[in-house]
């Protein structure tokens, strides 16, 4: 909302002497931060941020009320235009509780147009003066006093006016020229010919004021906020009027705004009032809201007391009475946001200034809770991977169905994971796997010249179920490119599947996860975080004795078929060796060369033995011989 300094000062003279910067600080302290100040036509215009609950502050008068309450300075009284009401010239029937009051008047327009002062004000508000006095005056009134009004061309209205619910399928051409098909939840102003305005939202084209208009019928009513919000949303029609009515206008302003509008038209273009009248009445004030001293002091954090509360609320326009329980406040007709005791307490603190709130740490009432194992697990694995050289990524949870499909499989149909209103097709599916996102990120990094990509992500993957997508906390790792070769000691080589397998081993995965080949030299693994082994619950595991006798190492070079199973060979050899003395058995070299017999390769198997005694050569020779025999039984041969 734009606020022009001099117009604000007309409502509250006390701010006239203040610097704009001071004024901004006062507004911010009241909960209306100023986003910016611009100088338009020689005056400062403030762009004030107004929260959705404060429709009453969306005008110069509304803002002035706040500042006046804060500074304890008087507001300029509203002008009494002395418009006398008489008999209705046109019957106005209020047929819905959504419109309890409808003040109106008919004027015959004279010559003359919007005065320069009003045009200047409108320009400061970034509104274009229309030079139609009735239209400009209505706009000016809205921005100054916050009450929306409307002017119809009185000669185009047929018969009585009804404020009623529309019938389904009725149509109305609104001022913007669009034909609106109405529903029974739309509140309209109608004449004999049908709807002529969407109540509180926009007037109709058939009755609009033009340069030819001779007589106007003014509307200054109050419409139910919820009804107006729903209409504005239904018709995507967000106007200044719907904004104000939608956030709650002041019903007591209906007559006042009508009078102000009449007076403006009389002054600006010599209009002659033919009659003014009002249908309905200002609705009953809200019931009083109680506020106890206990609640006030609890919220405030100090003993503010009800006297201060009463004084603050009175300054804000509440009617306050005291009783044994505390005080009871009836909010002013413009404050629809005040409904519960906490609201009143907030008002007291707000006027006093949040800077006065004391500061203290809350007492601990019970023992703190531990961090959940699932959370710690994610923290732990993320740190381990970062230490191993991997970069944590954050990618969007939705991807394109095409890239999702190869990784999700038929057991996880995309239909249960599809968004109704995605940003686009490529963001339409909650991903069943993190790998497609990581693959794209890896490829992007490689294209950007990275020699090696090491990425991981911890995020939910989604599995379709009848009740909706089930989230599974997931870890995915992608690794590719060239390892080493960045210094004079480390040779370069391509990242291989085996690297991913080794990484899985480092993470203590219970089962070897499948390694996905995501592209040339790019591999990935993916596991559910729940499948990662939990760390031991003992900080230090129980002691296991180890031998201090020397260990003995023996190598066997075995010729095996190219498709020989290492697991089978390893199992057979290990079974042939004494379990209590075998420390380690593993292949430490794979040799493939054209000099070897065709279809064969050489595996260098290393055995390490250790016992609680010094091992004797002959005894180890015997073990090695049995291991060789076991290998030979599977078709391996000792390499000469």
């Amino acid at each position: 909302m734009l606020i022009e300094r001099q117009s604000l000062a007309q409502e509250i003279p006390a701010v006239a002497g203040q610097e704009t910067r001071q004024l901004c600080e006062i507004l911010a302290a009241l909960g209306f931060p100023v986003d910016g100040v611009s100088t338009t036509e020689g005056t400062d215009v403030l762009d004030v941020d107004i929260t959705a609950n404060r429709g009453d502050a969306m005008s110069h008068r509304g803002m002035a009320r706040e500042v006046a309450a804060k500074l304890q300075q008087p507001l300029t009284p509203l002008p009494d235009e002395g418009v006398n009401e008489g008999a209705a010239l046109v019957e106005v029937r209020l047929e819905s509780p959504a419109c309890p009051i409808y003040a109106t008047a008919i004027l015959e327009l004279g010559g003359g147009e919007t005065p320069e002062a009003a045009q200047h004000f409108l320009r400061c508000m970034e509104a274009t003066p229309k030079r139609l006095a009735a239209v400009d005056a209505s706009n000016e009134l809205l921005l100054r006093y916050g009450h929306p009004t409307h002017a119809f061309d009185a000669d185009k209205i047929r018969g009585a006016l009804r404020v009623r619910w529309a019938q389904a399928q009725e149509t109305l051409v609104t001022l913007d020229g669009l034909t609106r098909t109405l529903t029974s939840q739309d509140l309209v102003i109608a004449d004999e010919s049908g709807p002529i305005a969407l109540a509180g939202v926009m007037g109709g084209d058939s009755t609009k004021v033009t340069a030819e208009t001779r007589r106007v019928l003014l509307e200054s009513a109050w419409f139910d906020p919820k009804t107006v919000r729903a209409m504005a949303r239904r018709h995507s029609l967000h106007t200044d009027a719907s904004h104000r009515f939608g956030r709650g206008a002041d019903p007591a302003m209906a007559r006042v705004a009508r009078d102000l509008l009449v007076a403006r038209l009389q002054a600006w273009c010599g209009a002659k009032l033919q009659g003014a009248w009002t249908a309905g009445a200002v609705p009953q004030a809200q019931s009083p809201i109680p506020l106890s001293e206990g609640l006030l002091n609890r919220i405030a954090g100090e003993a503010l007391g009800l006297d201060l509360a009463e004084a603050s609320l009175v300054r804000l326009g509440c009617q306050v009475a005291r009783d044994a329980q505390g005080l009871r406040a009836v909010p002013p007709s413009w404050r629809h946001d005040l409904t519960i005791p906490e609201d009143l307490a907030e008002e007291v603190l707000r006027l006093r200034g949040y800077e006065h709130i004391p500061s203290t740490l809350p007492p601990l009432e019970g023992p703190p809770e531990h961090l959940a194992p699932a959370y710690l697990q994610k923290q732990r694995v993320a740190r381990r991977l970062a230490q191993l050289g991997f970069h944590q990524t954050v990618t969007y949870g939705f991807i394109s169905p095409e890239v999702d499909a190869p990784f999700s499989g038929p057991a996880n149909p995309v239909e249960g994971r599809t968004l109704a209103n995605p940003l686009g097709y490529e963001y339409s599916v909650l991903r069943g796997s993190l790998l497609p996102s990581l693959q794209a990120t890896a490829e992007q990094n490689l294209r950007q010249g990275a020699r090696q990509v090491r990425l991981f992500e911890l995020a939910p993957a989604y599995v379709s179920s009848p009740a909706g997508p089930v989230e599974r906390a997931t870890l995915a790792v992608v690794w590719g490119g060239i390892l080493g070769g960045e210094d004079y000691l480390s040779p370069a080589r391509a990242v291989l599947e085996a690297d991913l397998t080794g990484l899985a081993k480092d993470l203590n995965l219970p089962a070897r996860p499948p390694v996905h080949r995501l592209g040339e030299g790019l591999f990935g693994i993916e596991v559910a975080v729940a499948d990662l082994p939990l760390p031991q619950d003992r900080i230090i595991p129980s002691f296991r004795a180890f031998s201090r006798f020397p260990s003995v190492e023996r190598d066997l070079s075995l010729l095996v078929d190219l498709d020989h199973s290492y697991e089978a060979l390893h199992g057979a050899m290990a079974a042939a060796l004494p379990g209590d003395c075998l420390q380690d058995l593993r292949c430490v070299d794979v040799f493939r060369h054209k000099n070897l017999p065709e279809g064969r390769q050489a595996w260098l198997m290393r055995m390490r033995f250790q016992a609680d005694r010094t091992l004797v050569g002959e005894e180890v020779d015997g073990w090695v011989a049995s291991a060789l025999a076991a290998a030979e039984s599977l078709g391996a041969k000792l390499r000469a």
Binding site: L30, Y375, T393, P422
Partner: protein, 356 residues
Amino acid sequence: MDQLLPTEIIEAGGAFPEALAACGDLDALLRLKGAYIGREGSHAARLMDLLKTAPKEQKRDLGAAINALKQQWEEGLKARQAELETAKKTRAAQASQWDPTLPPPVPVRGALHPLNRLMDRLVDVFRPLGFHVEEGPEVETEAHNFDGLNIPEDHPAKASSDTFYLAAHPELLLRTHTSPVQVRTLLRVAPELAKRGGIRFLAPGRVYRKDEIDPTHSPMFHQVEGMLVGHGIGMQHLKGTLEYALRALFGPHTEIRLRPSYFPFVEPGCEVDVSCPLCAAKGCRVCKGSGWVEILGAGLIHPNVLAYAGIDPAEWSGWAFGMGVERMAMMLSQTPDLRLFFENDQRFLQAMGGLD
């Protein structure tokens, strides 16, 4: 006396200094030594033979001449050998020498994502105050995301222009804030709230809003929610906790400022500003010269939120706050474009992330 010596010996003697200088290594020197003073076939050996057969009266002079010559050769060879040995030692020393300024092999290091680091840091900051971490699903129900938070049924945030909904499950949506974790947690702990003495937790996580991707908007971003429920909790506790936490985060001289604001799930509500951590509140581009930056929204829990979870607002009260992680990360790092956080260029991650 020279006339007593054969011509070739005299020539060899004349060539000796040059031959000596030409010896580049000890092997060549050894060969030269053999040729001049070796036991057999050398110039010296031949001279000794000559001495044996020389007439008696010549022997004395000849002997002196031969000795002089031999001594000259031996001294020359010895000196040259010392020279060459020194040179060899120097080369050997150089060969085993290593230039410490050569780039060494460096252990690899990765990085946690800057957004995760920031969230972790917030958890670290609140841990000493007894806060733990609660997590909730990203696919939420309308009830948890809106209704339980006192958000009116016709609130614009519920519109499909603002919130992502699931096609097959119209009641499910992608949570638009971490606040539904409040609702879930309060519902869960409500029956045991007295026994456990209230609750205090943080809820970091990813949230979604239907914003087009541009330098300042992302359809997915992160929030950290904080909540505390206890007896007699007021605004002073909110201020005290945030003052503690933001000082832990930004330094002991940090000041905070509360300004009234409005969120449906709190009453009273406030925005919290922190004295600009980039310019020590002197005024800079980030704080637009004001010395303050807006850091989070907060307030006392609305009684309707407590009541929805089955907690009696007459007995219990509390506060809650919500903080945008990207906003803070961009402010602290001066990253010009929000998209960089989701592009995951390793150079960015390496520079902005860390290991803890």
